[in-house]
Symmetry: C5
Subunit: 316 residues, 5 copies
């Protein structure tokens, strides 16, 4: 679907659906939104808007890194959004020229819709221009990363505190997933951060200069996001190392129990085995107190063993 | 609560509570402190002081990184303090203009109170100006990080020396907490460090030039703090690796004990089992010295085993 | 084999096999391709084309990193391709002068063949020049890295999901191989990335300026490739750490089973051993309910043991 | 104690103890050494020499990083020495002005004493000036780090070779200490290295220019020291990883022994247990060769077990 | 030993042994080689050639990092070679002035000898000058690192493939040695790489400009060497991690065998122990089929156990 907002020289807003209409008219500036466009509509990037072949290719193929490319009469900016639950990544391509902004996205992305609705609800468009549209979209894109990281932080805390007392292999599996998602976030956020840094320092986008504070504010958020991702990766690192350490500590304890039990009963069972032998000539068997002497001996022996293990700290 | 200090052209200090009063008067410079302000008071940032909307947003929302933003007629500096026990983070926002300094903090922070009391006790204000106020606050903020790190270092030493002989899983839990707190400290200190570096090299804050040595001294402390945090993180790393190594070494020893005990008694118990069988025709059972021969055999066998284990170094 | 395309001043294309022919003729520009050349043909780099001795050495010896060297009247660019299955690395050496491009490769590489066929099929050569040839080759080289990484990503997913339920040592072996291949890819891709960055910013290759967008597009792909390699190395890292953690967790479980079994049966077997002794005077043996009392004792004892282990969570 | 060397205009050396005397006299340049000064003496930094308050604070408080601060009429340089056995760190503060060098240290440091004695023994002072004094002190400070690292390298080699056959937990404890000391060294050496780099490139210390080679030589040594520390940290890393690997390998071997022993004797002991049962009707017990048949069976069974373990490589 | 080549103004070569002779003569340029010099010969660096005291110190003491120092009338370049088997490091010091090159090395190094022999065999010296000598030596030094790395790569492959089926502790020991040698190589190669980079960009060595391609070729090789070392360190890292993982996996398997054996035989042996007790009143003992019933019970029990273990995957 193609949607167009065009602003007249006296700041009136018109909406239309045909690119020809806006190009033929006499407008101050216009915004063309390609939302999940048909193949026919995609072709108009070339036939009507005459964008460079490489820029159009980037739009169609997708799988670009967030980036900014300068062409003779426009700049192409590619940025990414991430869906809150599925972690699906969507691309938004923005063409900025002297009089136009063109947004192109294969999926229906809420960030662009929000800005569209803001613009439509405006009574007067005199505070708006191309760069205002661009700022609002970028601002929404970046803001939407925060709830995603907060959600991941909650999940990390759940793994750390483990209120449902899940077993360690389940926790490790969850941790692995969380790390994977943090990695995806890092590969989405850091290039956008570097992109906004370039936008701030670019001489090609003259309209930025008047809105410097606004784009600097977005850059601020991206720095914060980038630090949160790094910090959370490091925390998951620590949690996993902690799990492994604790597991190893518990294993040590279990093996100590095994060794204590074995060390106490192996000699006792051996002694009982000796007097269970059927030799004809075993004088102790006929002693009147033989049985009691042996029981006492076993008792003393096991006591000595236990003392030794207590001294070694294996009864902790 | 809003508190104001205003300085007259002959360096006299007046205190007041109304922003209108200071703006209408004829003062050399003034300091407005928003300490845990009410919603009504917060609105005056906009209605009376006419700060930029983005700057006011940063104050109200909080959760900013330490940073410095330049606006047309003022600069906004955001810095963090950390409470000594709870590790709670508080934000201090400082607006600096030609004639004013405005501090804004949602919590009652001791660093600002100390400077307020210093200023109030001063007989003559001729050595003071806006940048002196700013320097004193920043100096207190940075100085307060030192006892926090010293306290963490003491805790790390306690974990390493373990005078209360806590078990290893408790120590690992403590170490994990300490690492987490060091991480928080790093994410507080390093951005302040970078911020002070920018302040030192900023051309927007002209009053810094006359107090260069003072701000350089703060920067020095931040470098020292940053190194202490990194160094302590690395030490906790080493302590944990050491714990894991020692745990693994001890486990080895325990398993050796288990193996030695099993290896000695398994064959002996087996031999006793053989002569405990009830076959009718077992000639050894009827030998006169059968019992003694078997006992001797067992003795020799266990001796040989022990020798072999001693040779292998398993009796260390 | 030596193949030559030469373009006349009216953009006609001629193909020939002799270097003398092209040098003696009056052509606008020409492309000489040394494809798996004989020793005789290699010598013509020196005798006919008079390239610098060091440049010729690099071609003949191979084992160069991807790089660009400037000589007085030409530039030498070395780049690598990697075969899809064998991971064999091949070198393509490209000499670029004012009127010529010379490609030299010891193996028959598909990337050059594709461009050759493109050029041959062209009706009119007026859109082509030396840098177009160079761009097309480089573009093919870089594009061919994508399927290789996709293939590695599929293999990594197979190791992670393990649908064939292979044992962990087989998976670890596969992971080790995958990491090795990722390392090889990194050492191929990163230098090419840095090389294209240099080409983009080089003042020696004047023809680049007109095709800036095209080479920037290649650079973009190389950034993407480089990030994919790094990201996949990190994922293999996480997978291996996960395997090790899970292995250690399972071992813990196995040892708990061993300890539980041993702890229950060692005391029971010892008690049975006691009443298997052959002492003449053992009053319990003659009690009418002695046997049942002992059986009950054993039952209670094992129940107590099991309760204790359940409380410890060893029956998870 | 305060010691002073003052040089007259004809390069004669005078020594004195009173700062007033040197300031009132007519000297070319002078060196004032505060060696472990009393509180009274410390005050003279302010009352007599009029240094900046922040510089004096740095001296008195200590705990500074190695650094250089520029003030209006002098520079303050802080550097560290480390004692050879105790690893105690001492600070040397050096004030350099147009006509004076002032050294301030709370402890009696051998590096300064050596230079003092060199200067005192000199017949003619015409080759000496303020920067010569400074160079000689810095040179001694840096040279004294070498024997400390050599000593650590010897200790690391002792841990690696383990000639006294200490147990692994003792070695790990030693390694941990060595790593800690290397960390301390790094935090002493790297800032001095960066400081000397700044001194070499400073425009504030004009006397450096004439002695460039000398200070570059010190910088060289600091680069070497820094690399030695990093390299040794990496080696201790490898040693510890090696210890852990070997420990894990040995544990594997011990557990194999345990498993072999258990696997052989558990079935044998079970069989013996069967024929130790007291059932009235057990025909095998009455067979004439029953006992021998069972012994043979046991022999065959244990042989089969041993074969299986040999095949599995557990008898390595 | 001191050897001298001196070139006359008509490019004739003379060889001599006395420094006086070359300095007194009228030569275009000369090369003085100090090969393992006597103390007497070393003194001539000062008395005859008047080099700076610090430069001479560096030669005599050795233990320098590869580096380049500028003095008023010459530059000193220090570089390292490594012997192929022993990994002994040797230093070559090169002094370059307007008319002379002086090489100084305490050991007889093949790299210098090769260049000497090349120069001696030359018929005409008109293509040679000071920088040609320097280039040839540096080229040999760098080329000699390649076989050393190839040899290490072979050793690493041997450890990985383990054709002699060495035990893991032997392999780990070898790996540790290999890592140590790679570390030594890195500390030799990286500073030389940085040194050649500085040489390429130095304005002090004017003769470099004419041979830029040659020194760039050396730099190329050093980049390649540096990457090979880093890559091989990373591969040894992976090999060791793989060993540890496999060891841990095998241990898991061994412990499973132990647990299975114990779990099967512990209950069986206990049951046999029960019916080996000597109570007077044990009715089962007198049942006609008691023995067979118990045997059947044991069979069923062990079968159930085995089924459970198979289900758990412990018979893999
Ligand atoms: Mg980052
Ligand atoms: Mg970061
Ligand atoms: Mg960041
Ligand atoms: Mg960070
Ligand atoms: Mg970490
Ligand atoms: Mg960690
Ligand atoms: Mg830091
Ligand atoms: Mg630092
Ligand atoms: Mg550091
Ligand atoms: Mg750091
Ligand atoms: Mg470390
Ligand atoms: Mg570590
Ligand atoms: Mg690399
Ligand atoms: Mg990369
Ligand atoms: Mg990267
Ligand atoms: Mg990257
Ligand atoms: Mg990672
Ligand atoms: Mg790792
Ligand atoms: Mg990882
Ligand atoms: Mg790790
Ligand atoms: Mg370093
Ligand atoms: Mg270094
Ligand atoms: Mg290094
Ligand atoms: Mg390092
Ligand atoms: Mg390492
Ligand atoms: Mg390591
Ligand atoms: Mg490197
Ligand atoms: Mg590298
Ligand atoms: Mg490199
Ligand atoms: Mg790695
Ligand atoms: Mg690794």
């Amino acid at each position: 679907m193609i949607q167009i907002i065009a602003i007249t020289s006296d700041n009136k807003r018109k909406t239309m659906k045909s690119i020809d209409e806006v190009l033929d008219g006499d407008y101050q500036w216009w915004w063309i939104d390609f939302n999940n466009p048909t193949d026919e509509e995609v072709k108009q990037l070339d036939t009507k808007l005459h964008f460079h072949q490489l820029a159009i290719e980037d739009c169609i193929l997708g799988q670009q890194r967030p980036k900014m490319d300068y062409y003779d009469d426009f700049s192409l900016i590619v940025t990414h959004t991430i869906g809150p639950v599925s972690f699906d990544q969507h691309e938004i391509n923005v063409f900025i020229g002297d009089q136009f902004i063109v947004t192109f996205h294969k999926d229906d992305v809420p960030e662009v819709n929000q800005v569209w609705n803001m613009a439509i609800k405006q009574e007067d468009m005199k505070d708006w221009d191309i760069y205002r549209i661009f700022y609002e979209i970028l601002d929404k894109v970046v803001d939407h990363y925060f709830p995603i990281i907060y959600q991941l932080e909650d999940s990390i805390n759940l793994v750390e505190d483990n209120p449902e007392e899940l077993s360690m292999n389940v926790l490790l599996e969850q941790l692995f997933e969380l790390r994977h998602e943090l990695l995806k976030l890092r590969h989405a956020i850091n290039p956008i951060r570097d992109l906004v840094y370039r936008i701030l320092n670019s001489s090609h986008l003259q309209g930025i200069e008047d809105r410097r504070e606004y784009f600097a504010d977005i850059y601020d958020h991206l720095l914060k996001l980038s630090e949160m991702v790094d910090s959370n990766r490091e925390i998951t690192n620590d949690i996993r190392d902690n799990f492994i350490s604790l597991n190893s500590y518990q294993q040590n304890k279990v093996i100590q129990v095994l060794t204590v039990i074995t060390s106490i009963f192996a000699p006792l069972t051996f002694i009982a085995g000796i007097y269970g032998m059927n030799f004809v000539n075993m004088p102790e068997l006929e002693w009147h107190y033989g049985y009691y002497i042996i029981l006492a001996l076993m008792f003393v022996l096991s006591l000595a063993m236990i003392m030794w293990f207590i001294k070694r700290g294996w009864f902790g």
